[in-house]
Subunit: 411 residues, 2 copies
């Protein structure tokens, strides 16, 4: 059975890692900076060498096309992103882009033509570390964000996406929203510990989980820490600590798939000897099932309000962002599942915990993802790592999933 | 029985409140600013009009002296401070200074001379809002802080105390540490709700409680909120919430005199969808009894460490400031208690929850304090308020406590 060239893929990953490489062994290629542009240029050069045609759309998404025998048919696409976190790793995003390139190189070596064309996509600003929101390029491609809004998005230095695109030469001509693909496959490191813990090299991703971001504000009364008896206090800190404990407890009723996180916590006018009066914290809820996450949300409100009422404080719980679960396309999932089975690699179904461009694409055209383990589940970290054999196996699966969809033409 | 002139005292308080008065009805006279200097000038003018002699020491403490028959005897002193919080009130500190002035005015009106001299003191930078530490003037007077250290203390704009003293003309000549007083009495609003709740106008203050300020640092592991199963997490936020709840619970075993507050709470590199890995928070412990606060501290360490160990995180608990309890002088307390009894005002013994210049003085010479209620227990607030009858009664008590100590000379 046809397999990709693992050494070549690994060598390309390491070559790309030098672009914006950090002393600690990670990468810093923030979206549409000169490092990102250098990474794109290297990738484009490799694509041209592999006989592909390169084009860019108006939000800077970069497409490399390998013609199909039926070249007017919608393309079978794969890709991910080359931009990184400020202290990012060598695999997040890059792996999906270079695995797709390795698929094309392998088809070239084996002299295989496909019925449908193949496109590799580098999506603009996936990380959201320079411009928010994250996944800006794929959201604009799929029409979820209007082009004008995307172009006027500003970074912390007040530079617009439009300016950054023209400064790097990635203000392309291809129209957005783009033409829907026949199918979109994205290979990615898991960015979590599940596959590694199970010793399983391939995750067949069935979709993205639902996410709810909430803002919680607890208001009590400021008072002097030394002169106010405990019984007269309306302490927003202790009330919020109670809510946090209630939230962690609530997650147990939704284990193991329900996830809860409090990532930010801020006391207004905080002072060591003043009772906290105005405290805000964020809640990140996740669950693969929309009904279950709605139930988590409702229970959270009920329990937080009960805590506030009991303590004579007020609590406001506001939704900041609500994202329903995103099931992937059954046919695309099957294509991945059959490829991995044919290759004989151990595998399991998995839900994507993080956001990916594929989550945007899934609302627009048939989509699926392939996960490989990452060492210690670590990502968004300069120490991010993956094993060469897992990197190879994931690209093998991508090769056969794409081939099955694109249609191999017999010689 | 001799009483002070309540209307005159109230009028002086309202006149002083105009100096640095804020639109919301509070005061802004930060230490050694031109507003503070204007307040001191007004006070000095009143003292001179009352026949007193004004002098200033090297840290800017301002003394107004009324001669005694035995003028070489150590003075019976009273005072407080005229500086305020950035959004301070009309009574905190000011009340103690002007109540002492009213005592002298009353003695003048009644043609009473005392055996020992009387001094009124305005202590420099009590609030600590411009220069830290708070109570700088009384600490320098009593030798707790060396003069050079105090003079080189800088505000947020990098101005030294020495420069601020010379800019306002309060770089006086009187030596520090100063000559110990025969006795020091300080009248102050309670800054808490205890007297008001009990409907009692006078608190006979028996001392300052012990204070321990701790810094707690909890370290777990950063990970992605969407991809990390709950069971693999080492979440510093939920661990800290547990510690906060344990602390609040611990306070119940030391009720009602044990006080616990978490005033500051900071997550390093906080992000909505990242599990907190490095969290610091402060703890403020108070108890009138040194053995009890030591036991609170020990139990806190035990419980926090148990929580960290159970969750596989680390916790460091570092003392930031340890201040033992400060008992006031039994004879001075008795002088206050006998004065209030003779006047027939309802009263109760009370421990000072906050820091005061009197806490510094108590380590240097016989000291006691008199508390009056403040409306809603509110202080450090532009809405800070006190009832005219309580203001009068507190000054009556001060008058008789000082007279008993200074010795009224019969005509």
């Amino acid at each position: 059975m046809l397999k990709i060239d693992g050494q070549r893929l690994w060598a390309s990953l390491m070559e790309m890692a030098k672009v914006g490489g950090t002393p600690a062994g990670g990468c810093r290629r923030l979206a549409l900076t000169k490092e990102d542009a250098a990474g794109r240029a290297l990738f484009s050069q490799w694509c041209v060498a592999a006989g592909m045609t390169v084009s860019v759309d108006r939000i800077g998404n970069l497409f490399a096309r390998r013609a199909g025998l039926d070249d007017d048919a919608p393309a079978v696409a794969s890709g991910s992103h080359l931009d990184t976190q400020p202290e990012g790793g060598r695999f997040d995003g890059v792996y999906g882009v270079l695995a797709a390139l390795e698929v094309v190189r392998t088809l070239n070596d084996a002299n295989i033509r496909t019925r449908k064309p193949i496109e590799i996509v580098v999506w603009t600003n996936e990380e959201g570390a320079r411009f928010t929101p994250a996944m800006l390029g794929s959201a604009t491609f799929t029409g979820a964000i209007p082009l004008e809004t995307a172009l006027q998005t500003r970074d912390a230095a007040n530079v617009t996406v439009a300016d950054a695109l023209s400064a790097t030469g990635y203000d392309g001509a291809r129209a957005v929203p783009g033409i829907a693909f026949d199918a979109y496959f994205e290979a990615h490191i898991e960015q979590g510990p599940v596959l590694e813990e199970s010793g399983i090299p391939i995750g067949v991703v069935t979709g993205g989980q639902a996410i709810r971001w909430l803002d919680v504000r607890v208001r009590g009364q400021a008072a002097h820490a030394g002169t106010t008896p405990m019984k007269y206090r309306r302490d927003a800190l202790f009330a919020s600590a109670d809510m946090a404990s209630a939230l962690e407890h609530l997650a147990k009723d939704f284990a193991p798939r329900g996830l809860v996180t409090i990532g930010e916590w801020h006391i207004r006018n905080a002072s060591r000897n003043t009772i906290a009066a105005d405290l805000t914290f964020t809640v990140d809820l996740r669950h693969p099932d929309d009904a279950q996450i709605a139930s988590m949300h409702a229970l959270l409100c009920e329990r937080f309000e009960a805590i506030a009422a009991k303590r004579g404080l007020s609590v406001e719980i506001s939704p900041h962002w609500i994202s329903p679960s995103t099931p992937f396309d059954p046919a695309c999932i099957t294509a991945v599942a059959e490829a991995v089975q044919a290759l004989g690699y151990p595998n399991q179904r998995i839900v994507s915990g993080a956001g990916h461009d594929a989550i945007n694409l899934a609302k627009y055209c048939p989509t699926a993802m392939i996960f490989i383990p990452c060492v210690d589940g670590l990502s968004h970290n300069e120490a991010e790592d993956a094993l060469p054999e897992d990197v190879s196996r994931g690209a093998d699966v991508l090769l056969h999933a794409m081939l099955s969809r694109a249609g191999q033409v017999k010689h």
